[in-house]
Every structure is written in C-alpha cells, then in structure tokens.
C-alpha cells in the first residue's frame, strides 16, 4: 500500500517510509541545529537508492531546509550577505568541480566507493571530536567548573594575505582568499556527498575566519541555499540524477520533523545532546565502514547505460 514509483531512482518505495525518514532526520536536525544531509544521504544509500541519485536529490532537499532556516536567521539580522556571497562564489567553483568528479566516478564505477569513503572520513573525524568535546563538557558541569574562556582573536597567517575586504556585519577586515577557498572546499563536498556542509563551514568560520558566532549560522545557511541550488541544477544537467518526487517527500517529512525537533531540543541539555549526536554520527560511520571492509555476499554489480 501507498507505494510510489520514483521516476529517476527507478524504484518503487513506500511513501510513508520515505516520509518517516525525512521526518526522523528533520527531527534530529531541528533538535541539534544541524543540516541533516550527512545523515539523510547515508540513509538513502542504506535504502538502496543509487549513490549518485541519493547525493543529487539530497542537495535538492537541503535547498528547502536551508531556505526556512536562513529565513529565521535573516529576520534576526544574523546574515552577513557580503561574507556569504564571497563564500558562495567559492562554493560555485567547488560545485562545478564536484559534479564533474561525480560524472567521471560514475563512468569508472567508483562513485559509491568515493561517496562512502568521504562519509567514513568526515563522519569519523567529526563524531570523535564532538564526542570528546561533549564528554569533557559533561564532566566539567559535574565538577562545577566553568567553561574555559575563549582566547581573544590573534593575528595569524590569514591576515598576511592580499585581496583584503571589509565585512561590516562580521566586523572583519580580511583577505577574500580564505573564505573563497573554504567556500570552494564545502561546495566540492556538497556536490560529492549531498550535504550542505554546515558541519565544516560553521567550525571553520568560527575558528579559522574568526567570524562572530551570532552571524555564523545565518551566513552559513545563506550560502548553503545557493550552493545546494547550484549543485542541484548541475547534477540535473550533467548526471540526470535529481529525483524530484523523492526530494519532495523528504522535504515534507523534513520540515515537519524539524519543527518538533526544535521544540524537543529546548528541553534537553546542550552537551548531552551533542554527545547523543556524536554517537549517532559514529554509528552511521561504522555502518558505512563495515559495508566497505566486510566481504559482500555479491561481489558483482551491474550498471546500465543509455535507454532513457
């Protein structure tokens, strides 16, 4: 019952299962304040959606979730449009490169491998860092010690670069090169992994670019809208892998789940939330790693060409 045929993934799925996946990931992203792409894409892979379709379709879904997220931040005046624009110019370049890489990987039959490896690497690093950080924070609260005060911004090699620009809202006068490079790297990840890249962008903006925390989330979301939109169009023209039917069901589940998640998140303590998220991230990472290293039941696979 309620089977729906996905025209691009070319499979029949239960609409409630897909909606539920969207809602569950939306709930988590609302609760933790993360994008959710890094959880949704692996879930789609586990459900048998072809890797290239999973990545491109997830980019399309992230456009929707980042629009509603960015709007909230925009109303609060937390978007640095100039910084966001510099980031997204880099992001566009990274996206073009990433979509071409996916195309080549599909031709040589390694797209699944590279997507899985990227996820194992990034989820592994981020999961471990988050877990360590949140466990320390939990210990600190138990012992009643205050969080260590952040050191004031220091001058580093970043300040010696040319092409300096003034970013009023971020209260910065820095070279445009680091944000361009950061944007390009995140754009590349968006195209290959089907993520917004907030989990790289946000820490990099805080610790590397020293952007004030209040404008980081809004600016990151602002540029994610455009980068994932570019990724969606490029995947559509280059690889024909965007499944709008799948994306639409995920979007519906996602926005509803995110609202409940945001409300649930208010009642939970920050460091415990982060520890939970870290465990979840590590769980997904380990599952993907197992799929890579355990001998599969079927060593052969087939890939169709043409006939469209």
């Amino acid at each position: 019952m309620l089977q729906i045929y996905l025209p691009i993934a070319e499979m029949s799925v239960n609409i409630l299962v897909i909606f539920g996946m969207g809602a569950a990931v939306g709930f988590l992203s609302g609760m933790f304040g993360v994008g959710g792409g890094f959880l949704m894409t692996p879930l789609l892979l586990f459900s048998g959606v072809p890797p290239a379709v999973a990545v491109a379709t997830e980019a399309n879904q992230i456009v929707a979730s980042s629009v509603s997220g960015a709007l909230v931040q925009w109303r609060r005046g937390n978007v640095d449009v100039k910084m966001g624009t510099v980031l997204l110019i880099g992001g566009a370049v990274g996206a073009v490169l990433g979509v071409q890489i996916v195309k080549i990987l599909r031709e040589i039959g390694q797209v699944g491998l590279i997507i899985s490896l990227s996820y194992v690497t990034f989820l592994g690093i981020i999961g471990v860092l988050m877990l360590i950080e949140s466990l320390r924070a939990i210990q600190r609260t138990r012992e009643g010690r205050p969080a260590p005060a952040r050191k004031p911004g220091q001058h580093s090699w970043i300040h010696g670069l040319p092409l300096k620009m003034r970013f009023k809202r971020s209260k910065l006068y820095i070279s445009a090169i680091p944000p361009l490079l950061l944007g390009a790297f995140v754009g590349l990840l968006a195209a290959i992994m089907g993520v917004g890249g907030g989990f790289i962008m946000v820490p990099a903006m805080i610790y590397l670019l020293k952007i004030p925390t209040n404008v980081v989330i809004g600016t990151s979301l602002f540029q994610i809208i455009f980068v994932t939109a570019i990724v969606t169009v490029l995947h559509s023209t280059t690889n024909q892998t965007v499944d709008v039917v799948l994306a639409l069901v995920l979007m519906l589940g996602g926005v509803i789940g995110a609202q409940f998640g945001a409300r649930a998140g208010v009642h939970l303590r920050g460091e415990q939330l982060r520890a939970l998220l870290a465990l979840l991230v590590l769980g997904v990472c380990i599952r993907l790693l197992f799929d890579l290293v355990l001998e599969p039941n079927e060593l052969f696979s087939i890939q169709y060409e043409g006939l469209h």
Binding site: S65, G109, V233, V293
Partner: protein
C-alpha cells in the same frame, strides 16, 4: 444435374491444385496474444502481471494424449549496454576492479515453458531461437582485467544472476499450463523497475524436439501521466528540470516557515 456435378468436380480440382505438391494435411499451428499490449507506468506503479494465452490449431489427439506438445514463451525487452563489475579486496576494502561491458543486453528476458526447455527441444533449436538463459547472446566487448574466456563466463553468469535478482530475468519451466486440449496460458510478473520500450513476445509450439509453429506479439511499456512528465523533462530538458527542482524546494522552504511562524 450435370451442370452441378461439373461445378463440384471443378471446385475439387481447384482445391487440389492449390494444395502442396506432396499433399500433406495442414499441420499444427499456434495462435497467441497477451492480456495487455500496452502497460503504462504511473506514479502508483508497483509492477504488473501479464498473461500470455493462446491455442494450438489442429492438434492431434494421439500426440496430445502422449503429452508431446510443449509450448515455450520468450519475452524480450529492448536491448541496452550494461557494464558488469567485480569487487576485489584492495587495502582491506572491497572495491570494483575488473569489468566487462556488454553492448546488447535484453533489458528484460523471460522464458516460460510447459517443461524444462532442455527437455523439450534440441540444443540447436534452442540456440537458433534464443530460448533459455544459456542461449542469450551476451558477448563482452570491452574488458578490464584478465581476458581469459572462463573469466568472461563468470561475468556473464553474474549478469544473469543479478538480472534475475532484480526480477528482470525470469525462467519458469512450469509457467505454461494447458487448459483443456488446445488452450494454454502463462503468467509472468513484471517488476516495478521494468524498463520502458517495445517488448517482443515469441510463442513456440514444440513437438519432437522441433519448433512446429511460431507466433509473435508485441507489448509496449511506457511511462504515463506525471511519471512521464518527470522522466522526459529530466532527460530531455535537464536544465529546466534542475531549475524547477530548485524552485519547488525554495517554495517548500518558504511555505514551511510561513506555516510554522503562525502557529
């Protein structure tokens, strides 16, 4: 009276003149059709079952009673290029390594019969008509890795096994059943991922190892409605499709924040 006799003789001689030289009585022939000649894939499509049915014209009682009539049905979908890859262990991970490219692989292939096809027809007959998985002409055209023929045979086997697992290759030696003396029917399930295109359904009447009669009907599988709109625009107008996908997403995001802002 005389005139009538003349007319009868004339008619009889005409009939004799049109009969074959060695005057054998007309043999058995097969007629068949498919329950639906046109299948539309719409958004609620989760597969379809089709029935191939037909009858044997002029069956002979003695052959029928001995169970000597057999029917084989072969359904073929449009051909497409397929690459088969094999994973090998590299740095502790299972990674696609060797590959074979097959240029013309039937996207769908079903062989339905009243008995194992090997038991009802000579190998040369099966091979000439392409009946059975063993008689599919699947020759690798491009090779990555060891080119030994036994290696290629493994890729061929794997291709058939994977197609079977997807429900796109079917072999059922009990699918054709006789209803009464000359009617027969066979059912086959088309999975949700059945490829679109023109399908050919060949029905063979077999006796004594030989094909006595052969009948072909065609089946068209196509996408329809919303499904067709999405599919054709994605492949024919990918730029507009991509832009539309983004517009839908932006609209969904705006709608969501408008709805939940009020509540």
């Amino acid at each position: 009276m005389r005139r009538q006799t003349f007319a009868l003789v004339f008619a009889a001689s005409c009939a004799l003149a049109t009969a074959p030289a060695n005057a054998a009585p007309p043999g058995e022939a097969i007629n068949s059709d498919i329950s639906s000649r046109d299948i539309a894939i719409e958004s609620n499509f989760s597969g379809a079952r089709i029935v191939i049915f037909g009858n044997i014209d002029r069956p002979r009682d003695n052959f029928f009673d001995l169970g000597q009539y057999n029917v084989a049905v072969v359904i073929r979908g449009p051909e497409q290029p397929v690459v088969t890859r094999r994973k090998d262990r590299v740095f502790g991970m299972w990674i696609n390594q060797d590959a074979r490219a097959f240029a013309k692989v039937p996207s769908f292939y079903a062989v339905l019969s009243s008995q194992e096809v090997e038991l009802i027809a000579r190998p040369a007959v099966l091979s000439a008509y392409g009946i059975g998985f063993d008689n599919l002409s699947l020759i690798p055209e491009a090779v990555k890795g060891e080119a030994a023929p036994e290696e290629s045979a493994r890729f061929r086997e794997a291709l058939i096994r994977l197609k079977e697992a997807e429900g796109l290759y079917v072999s059922d030696p009990k699918a054709v059943t006789f209803v009464g003396r000359s009617l027969f029917r066979a059912t086959v399930d088309l999975p949700a991922n059945v490829p679109v295109g023109e399908y050919a359904t060949d029905v063979y009447l077999i006796r004594g190892g030989e094909v006595l009669s052969h009948n072909r009907s065609t089946l068209r599988i196509h996408k329809a409605g919303f499904e067709r709109l999405i599919y054709t625009s994605a492949y024919q107008y990918p730029l507009w499709y991509g832009i539309a996908a983004v517009i839908v997403a932006v609209a969904a995001g705006l709608a969501a924040s408008a709805i939940f802002r009020k509540s």
